[in-house]
Symmetry: C2
DNA sequence: TGATCTGTAACCGGCGCGGCTACAAATGGC
DNA sequence: GCCATTTGTAGCCGCGCCGGTTACAGATCA
């Protein structure tokens, strides 16, 4: 279980919405209407996006949030890092150091392997921008192929 | 936050331990000593590995778990899929369908993008085997490629 | 000044996870 | 057959994260 929190998805939604309402400040209440959540939740996420320099926010009457960059200059990796401050994707337990070679040394090995996997995921995220998402969302419900193929020799080990 | 549960890390640890105690059944109590956790937790994870065909388990006196494949025939992707039945890595909210184009269509777009990222991570996991982990942990190469007793596919549950 | 909007703290309920106990069932030694 | 060992699994608990909500101070503009 334990998925990555929906903050990433909500943040992408917010940025796509701001790309739509280009130029005018949008209030957290309005955004919350599209995202279908609470305005405070939106403000929390917008705050993280502001800290990352992805949006500009102005308080007070007539205020709201706007994009701080061109949509094609914001990758989903930027968004991921802005709202998910986790540094490790995989949790690693603490092996028993006084038992055997395995328990004493496996932690660092696992951290290295899992870090590579995490980086591969982030590299893929960096290939998509808010502009891409905006185009796919607004452009006539672009064909949603639900079954992507797998470019991995995974079966090699699972049947051998 | 919300990391992937430590079950993956524990499962890899268990398999590396079984690769070390090659040939003899190992009890959940013994494994728990190396992993530094509870025996029931180990049994839960070993059960998942058994369902995935990665280990053989025998109940009763003198029982325990053994590898069901060569260590170099078990990838971390196999392990990940065995213990983490989650199909989606990223949680995606439900946008408001009655608001605008964004809220109504973003869900499928996000699912597609996040699915690609998830697959990239899995592809990287498939590049590492239990034999690799065992070698890195112990500094030795796994004693593989000489043990014929392990090629038994399914029918022979009891050996020796 | 008053209305609007952000920023943030505080609290809540839900849920996944790991640790733990307890017990039935399977298994092998005697 | 009997007993010790071990798995399998059902519960229960506490912890921590997450999203939802209320409340309120500060900023901003007409």
């Amino acid at each position: 279980m334990s998925t990555i929190s929906s903050r990433v998805a909500v943040a992408v939604h917010v940025l796509a919405f701001l790309a739509w309402k280009r130029g005018e400040p949008v209030t957290s209440e309005t955004i919350a209407g599209s995202v279908n959540t609470n305005a405070v939740v939106v403000r929390r996420i917008v705050g993280a996006l502001r800290n990352a320099g992805l949006v500009q926010v102005q308080a007070g009457a007539g205020g709201g949030a706007q994009l701080a960059r061109e949509p094609n200059q914001i990758t989903l990796l930027d968004v991921y890092r802005a709202v998910e401050e986790k540094e490790e994707l995989f949790a690693v337990h603490q092996g028993s150091r006084s038992c055997c070679d395995i328990g004493g040394n496996i932690r660092s090995v696992l951290q290295r392997v899992f870090c590579r996997a995490h980086e591969a995921m982030q590299a893929q995220l960096s290939q998509t921008t808010i502009a891409d998402v905006f185009r796919d969302v607004t452009g006539r419900t672009a064909q949603c192929a639900g079954e992507p193929s797998f470019a991995v020799p995974a079966g090699a080990a699972s049947e051998a």
